[in-house]
């Protein structure tokens, strides 16, 4: 049954092409901006102030059958901080906070991944911010993946983490309720090649 075998082989080929059985490399979709690093910090303990970093770039490798082999690195332009208030953003870029003139680079580079269930994992990695590098943990959930309508293949995740400002040497006193910053991360990658 040569024809059946050929069809079967073709089917297998199509399946192999459309779902990554092996770890594939992805580029974070910064061009279409389907990625965001959002933060929130309590204001006086009475409400949440939200903002984001507008300029981010990155790559990751991902194999849904071997999640713990995932690697990701993200470059963040700290000067692109945007809290929808120019005077505050100017202050946040200043030496009281991110001091972006002295520390123009920020990045996250993963070190290891622990799977915590179906589609969830803890991502460990080094966050460099304000010239200080520390390990942080990000709780990640796989949102989805598959072909896009324009001939590409995409994979997307969401994540949350939090940091203490003082851990990164930022000691401007915003009050006792505002020592911690929470992050909401959305990362969508387009498969390379």
């Amino acid at each position: 049954m040569n024809v059946n075998r050929l069809i079967g082989f073709l089917m297998l080929f199509v399946v192999a092409m459309s779902s990554p059985i092996f770890a594939a490399d992805y580029v974070v979709d910064s061009k279409g901006m389907h990625a965001s690093i959002n933060f929130r910090i309590k204001h006086l303990g009475y409400s949440w102030l939200t903002g984001r970093f507008n300029h981010i770039e990155g790559t990751f490798s991902y194999d849904e059958n071997n999640v713990e082999a995932t690697k990701i690195s993200i470059e963040i332009d700290p000067a692109s901080i945007d809290s929808n208030h120019a005077e505050r953003d100017k202050h946040l870029r200043d030496s009281d906070f991110l001091h972006v003139k002295k520390y123009p680079d920020a990045r996250f580079v993963s070190t290891r991944v622990e799977s915590t269930g179906a589609g969830t994992a803890t991502l460990y990695g080094d966050l460099t911010l304000h010239g200080i590098t520390r390990e942080i943990q990000i709780q990640v959930t796989a949102v989805g993946g598959g072909p896009d309508p324009w001939g590409g293949y995409r994979q997307g995740f969401t994540g949350t983490t939090k940091i203490l400002l003082k851990d990164f040497g930022i000691d401007f006193d915003l009050g006792p309720a505002s020592t911690e910053v929470e992050f909401d991360l959305n990362i969508e990658g387009i498969r390379k090649g």
Partner: protein, 184 residues
């Protein structure tokens, strides 16, 4: 006398000069002080608001002063001055006006970088005119700070020059701006 004469400044010119001197030096000190305030300080938001209102007031008085100057005679400079002293004095006075304008304009461009308006003592709001440059608040902020320091250098020079007139040249330049010239 409200109006200037060939020999003396009128009271309008004198008052405008000293009110502007107070505002310009005061706003400079205020700018340094308010940046040192902590987040929980009562003046943390109040001081910048007042700084902006006083900055707008400075602009209005500066325009008024210029118009008044255009519509008035100017007392003649001291006859003892050499030509280079007259020329450099004229240049310095022009730059006192220009630098003040640059500081006010750059301050306005910080506050309006995201299309927010600037309030004048809560009486009216001056809307943003221009907010197109990327990181406008940072660029305008650098200009605001650097030009303010240069301006203070020029204010110091202006002050020293007036003291030189009074104590070295022993002429009426300083006393007539104080409205104290004895009339014979």
């Amino acid at each position: 006398m409200l109006r200037n004469t060939k020999e003396d400044y009128g009271w309008v010119a004198i008052v405008l000069h000293w009110v502007l001197a107070l505002l310009i030096i005061g706003l400079f000190a205020m700018g340094i002080w308010m940046r040192s305030l902590g987040y929980y300080d009562t003046w943390y938001n109040r001081a910048p608001d007042l700084h902006k209102s006083l900055g707008l007031l400075t602009f209005l008085l500066l325009v008024l002063r210029y118009l008044w100057r255009m519509g008035n005679e100017m007392p003649q400079p001291s006859l003892k001055l050499s030509n280079w002293e007259k020329t450099s004095s004229r240049i310095a006075h022009t730059w006192l006006y220009l630098l003040t304008l640059i500081v006010i304009l750059s301050g306005y461009l910080i506050s309006t970088a995201d299309d927010k308006s600037v309030s004048f003592f809560g009486v009216f709001s001056l809307p943003a005119a221009f907010s197109a440059i990327e990181k406008q608040e940072d660029i305008a902020g650098e200009i605001h700070e650097i030009v303010a320091w240069v301006m203070m250098g020029l204010v110091l020079l202006h002050t020293l020059a007036s003291l030189k007139h009074h104590f070295v040249d022993k002429d009426v330049t300083l006393v007539r701006m104080l409205g104290l010239r004895k009339k014979n």
